[in-house]
Each structure stands twice: as C-alpha cells, then as structure tokens.
Symmetry: C2
Subunit: 416 residues, 2 copies
Amino acid sequence: METKLRLKKNLIVGQSGGPTAVINSSLYGVVTEALAHEEIGKVLGMRNGIKGFLDGNVIDLGTLSSEELSLLQTTPAMYLGSCRYKLPVDLGDPIYPRIFEALDEMNVGYFLYNGGNDSMDTVDRLSSYAARIGSDIRFVGIPKTIDDDLVETDHTPGYGSAAKFVASQVRQMTLDTEVYRQDSVLIIEIMGRNAGWLTAASVLARKYPGDNPMLVYLPETTFDVPEMLERVEIALHDRHAVVICISEGIHDKDGHLICESPEGGASDVFGNKLMSGAGKALENIIKAKLGVKVRSVELNVTQRSAAGDLSLADVTEAAECGKAAVRAALEGRTACMITMERTSNDPYTIEYVPRQIGDISNATKFFPAEWIIKDGTDISSDFLDYALPLIRGEIYPPMKDGLPQFLYINHTGEKR
Amino acid sequence: METKLRLKKNLIVGQSGGPTAVINSSLYGVVTEALAHEEIGKVLGMRNGIKGFLDGNVIDLGTLSSEELSLLQTTPAMYLGSCRYKLPVDLGDPIYPRIFEALDEMNVGYFLYNGGNDSMDTVDRLSSYAARIGSDIRFVGIPKTIDDDLVETDHTPGYGSAAKFVASQVRQMTLDTEVYRQDSVLIIEIMGRNAGWLTAASVLARKYPGDNPMLVYLPETTFDVPEMLERVEIALHDRHAVVICISEGIHDKDGHLICESPEGGASDVFGNKLMSGAGKALENIIKAKLGVKVRSVELNVTQRSAAGDLSLADVTEAAECGKAAVRAALEGRTACMITMERTSNDPYTIEYVPRQIGDISNATKFFPAEWIIKDGTDISSDFLDYALPLIRGEIYPPMKDGLPQFLYINHTGEKR
C-alpha cells in the first residue's frame, strides 16, 4: 500500500504571460483530467508562475468544488496569477538545482505550464535541464495567446474569443459611427505588436461586400502615411463614415512604429515622447491633413479580458488542450507543447498533438503574406475560412445581480 | 368611409443625439404600439432626425416585419440615423412654417422625438410653435441618454445597459490587472462630461468590501492631483493593483479639465494641445510622480454601442417609454416627455408619466452630492440601491456565425 502511494506522482500547473479570456478554461481541463487519473497524486497550482513557485507559493487545486471548476471555464484573467520571468539561458545557473529540489520535495512528476512564447521557453529550459540531470519529471506546455502567433499549431486558445470580441466591437462601433450624415473616420486600434492575426479578425465584422471596416492594416506590411490618406479620401467619396482597423504595431518602411512618428507622436511638457498609441497618432494625422471628424478607439485590455463574447469553440479547445497536456505527460511525453491540428474544415475538426517544444519556443507565426490583399489594406477570404470556425458558438458566464460571476483569488489570498 | 380615412392621422418618429444600446428598443415600442391603434394611419420614420425630415428623408416603418421589429430591440446605434441640430430660438424663423407645412402635407398628427437634452429642446420649440399657430399636432419626447442626466425622470433609457457594460468591464479589467505581483495602477476613463452617473456605476463591479475600484472620481467634485497621488500611494501599500475609475470631465478647482492640465496634457510637434483624455493625462502624472506601472483605458464609444451587456430592465423600459409616448399623444398630450417614476424599489416598479417638457429640456440632473463620500473618492451604498435594479436581467442579440445580428439601414439605403 505504502509503496503504491509513493509511486503516485503529483502534478503541478502554472499560468504565465498575459491573460486571455480562456486560459482558466485550460486550467479547468488540466484539473478535471488530472483528478480523473488514479496515477496522479495531488493536483497543485503555482501562484504567479515559476516565480511564485520559487517563493514556495503553491496551492492544492484538488479542493476546488465541481461548481468552482465549472466557473473557471468562463472566468477571464488568471486564477493562479501570472509572472513575466525568463529562466537564464545558462543551464549551469544555480536556479535550476533549486527548482528541481523543490519539485522533488513536492513529489512532482508532471509539470504543466500554460502560456505563450516565453512560457514555452520555460518548458524548453526545464526539460533540457531535466535531461541533463536524468530527472524523469515531464514538462508539457499548453499554448495560450490572443495574438495567435505560435508556430506548429493551427491556432492558439485565447485567439478565438479575442477575435470574436474584436469583430463584435467593430460591427457595433461601425453602426454607431454610421448614424451621422457627416464625413468621419473611426480608427480602431487592435492588439498585436508583430503579428496581425487579431487585427485581421476585424474583417469578420463585415455583413456585405463593401461594408466597413474599409481599410485594415497589419504589422506584417509597411505602413505609408500619404498612401493611407489617399485611400481614406477615396473611401470618403463613397460614404460618410469610414472605419479603419489598425494593429498597434504598424510601422513605416524603416521599421519605425507609427505611434513614434514625428507627425503623429506627441511630447509631454518635459519634451518626453508620449507613447499614445498608433490610433491616436493616425487620428492627429488625418485630422490635420483631411480636416474631417476623426475618433480613435484603442480596444486595449478589454480584448483579452472580456467574458461577454466568449467563443464556445475557443473555451472548449482551451479545456481540451489542458486535458491533452495531462494525458501527454502521463504517456511519458516531455519537452513538448500541445498543438492543434485542423484535420478538416467542413466539418471543422481538431486533433490535439504534442510536438517538440524546441521548434516552437522562439519562433513567431506571422500572418500569411498571400492573405494580405489590396496593397496591404485588406484581408482575403481565405482568412474568413480559417477564422470563422474559431469564433462560433456562445457560452456566457453565470450572471448575478446583472453582472458576470467569476472565480478568482484576491490580494489577501481569499477565493472570491 | 373616405371621411373616416381622412380622420386618421399619421405618426412620425425621429431619433437624435448620441446613440445608445437601447434607443432602437424605444423605436420598437413606438412602432408596435402605433400599429396596434386603428386611429393612427401610417407610422413614419424621419432619417437623421429633424434635419433629414427637412430634406424630405422619411420612410414607412409599417413595412417592418415582426422579425425585423424584434431585432430592433437588441440592435445598438440608431436605425433611423441621427443628427445634431438645434432649432433656432426665434420662433419667427422661416424654418418653422417650413416644418409645419411638411408635417401637414404628410398628414402627421403625432410627432415623437427620441433623444437627450437637445432633442427635448426640439420638442419644446415645435410644440411652442404649434401652440402659437393653433396646430393640433402633438409633440411628445422619449428620453434617451447613457449619461442619466435628464431631470424629472428617475433614470433614462440607455443608462442601465451602459452602467452594466461599465461595471462588467471594470470587474473584468480588475481581474486582468490583478494577475501580476507588481505595483501597478489601472485608470479607466468613463463617459460623462458634466454628470458622473455612469462613472459611479463602476462601484457595482465590487464583489467584497475593499475590492477595486479603490478610487472613483466624478465631475461633480473638484479633482486635486496631489491629493489623488497621496491616495494612490496609500492604496498601493494595501495591494499590488489599484484600479481608479474617472469621469472624462474631472476638473480642478478652477474648472479646468484635467486632460488640459500642463502636467498631464501633451502637445503635437506644432505645439498644438492634444486632447488625449483625462485617463492618459493621469497615466502620465502617476508614472512621473510614483514611478509605478500605469495603464489607462478609455472605454470610449463601446460604452454606448455594446449589445453584449444589455440590461433586460433597460431594454424593456426603453420599449415601454416608446409605447407610453404613443399613448400620451393619442390621449391628446403634447409638449411633454415620458418620464419614469420609481413607485417602489422592492419590488422594483416603474410608472411611465408624461411631464411638461419646459422643465426638462435645458436642465441637468447631477449626481447627488450626498452620495459622494470619502472626500470625493467613493460612492455611497444608496447609489447601489438606486442602480442595481437598472442593470438586472439579460437579453442577448441573436447570433449567427459567432457574431451578433443587427438590423440597420446602410449607407446606400439598404436594410441589412
């Protein structure tokens, strides 16, 4: 009996990087799957990622009730808290033995880490160190990012809900801006410094050919101010209200961000450059050059925190990625991340496949050049085929007194 | 038979001012109620308010199918389009006979106008002119504004859904900002230039005593920068993440807007003042003075255009106001606006009462001073009693391909 108990290894899971609306659904998947396997002992959670783990901040997730677990599926942000922390490149650094001693002390056999590029780098380094010292702890990554820029996977959990939110907001703000019979430009700035996947999602908002957004600019192309002004003028001949969707990372031919350009940028009273966003920069430029009414809206963190526009496909897939990670670890896989493979688009089907982390952790999946059309101002319909299945279906958080109910741990450590 | 037909007068309805998420629900109320009364002939809609009416831009709303009418209930923005147009103070202006000739030509007996202060001013002037010339056309206003600043009414349609959206977003962004163990300040800028009702709604987001938002600033008080900095410092002793909700109209003791202050404001390369919002201004000030991570989010037009956080109470009341306006006009009332009277708070009950427009059109209902507590940094629980019934209940737009479906007329005049 005692030997058998000792054979049971504990599983630990962490969340890292920026929040998304569905990363807690992956946590739900991890915990429910792990609890269903007898060979797993405790299901532990590190608070604030590997950084909190180093501080000994670990909690028992096995105490969550089934009602609480279910609530995690529709709770945005990160139940376990996050960190932004890169492990040292040098595997000879004393931090590595410290981590592995702590893992051994907690009898951890399975280490799951949920995040984007940097988090996969953590999985990569820890599994490399495990190989070096002959540890049999298994390290598996679970993907997450609203940017959809991880390679080797069809898409990432978090993207579908963010894309759905962006498209909904663009459609709603388009209606709002079209109520007046007055020439006007609405600029909507969308997250994505290097990859334009989320900005591209704005074209899902269109209901008919020629519908707004009229112009869409991704960071994968060069942004030329005079060319943009020309296109806006042409668009304003056609209709009163022109909606432009831009990625926060749009830049000129030399790679300089538009929000830092002398024309659009601003300085404070001390002469310091103010980073006020590409949308504000373009607002100033268009106002000055075309003399029309211009408004810019930065969707900002609402893109990753909104639980009112959850994609059922996304929430489900996030949970499935978490479950697949548990199974992969149990099957002896390590140094890998769960990827999603689209085996068919009609009907839409996904397979969850663990792949070697080394190929993933330091690469970026850019928006395909062949899907960017009309001289970098529009997106091809191939993207619609890609993105539509990812935003389909709805799941809403339970409501109480008119507001969504979430499960989280507050600053005093209480579950709320 | 022919005489009887001639006795039937047509009803015309217009929308004006800024959009809300439920003004189309009032239109739904007007049209369904008007179609149910035999004594009303056609139900007409003026495109782009009184301005479009003057251009002869009038459509027949009787052709809307019941499915389309139902869709209006959850469609944000303005189906009929809007205008910002104030009628001249001088009733001797030639515009007045022009309007009344057109109304007579269309056999209009009932004129309903849906909007805020300026729109009620239009109702006021037109009914005054009608009295002067002895016209028996009845003019009835339907309230609308997310600002909740119309007098004589408990609240205004549009406020409940905007308040629900604000509280949801504040709760979600609070979770998002609390994931890191790092001192940080999140500033959320909320609409409301003169009245703080919508900013006050941010306190609905709190789940427990001491929860974020820690500080809430309305335009009804004086905003003092050094005092705010002191409070932020104290709050940061208590917790890592401090959320501050501010009204766009916060100002110093001399009435100068914070976004225009020398400390927070910015200039473009030509030295022109950039209006970048109070949130951005405070972000710069707090960063410079306290050296912590600061982010500011301006909710912007999403507050009035979001259909994903509709309050069922609000949608229902908006429709009821529209219906009550039709009945008031039929009963011979004119020069009035439909107001909402809260006859009980538990259970919450509302009566719809037409009141003289003269008292309403040029007044502002400010947030009560006695509900502003802690030296202007917080809101009393009396407000919660007031606001909670207004955000209760959910109604979602029908979804297709993952996105909300709306009914609107596009720029080429097509119904979409």
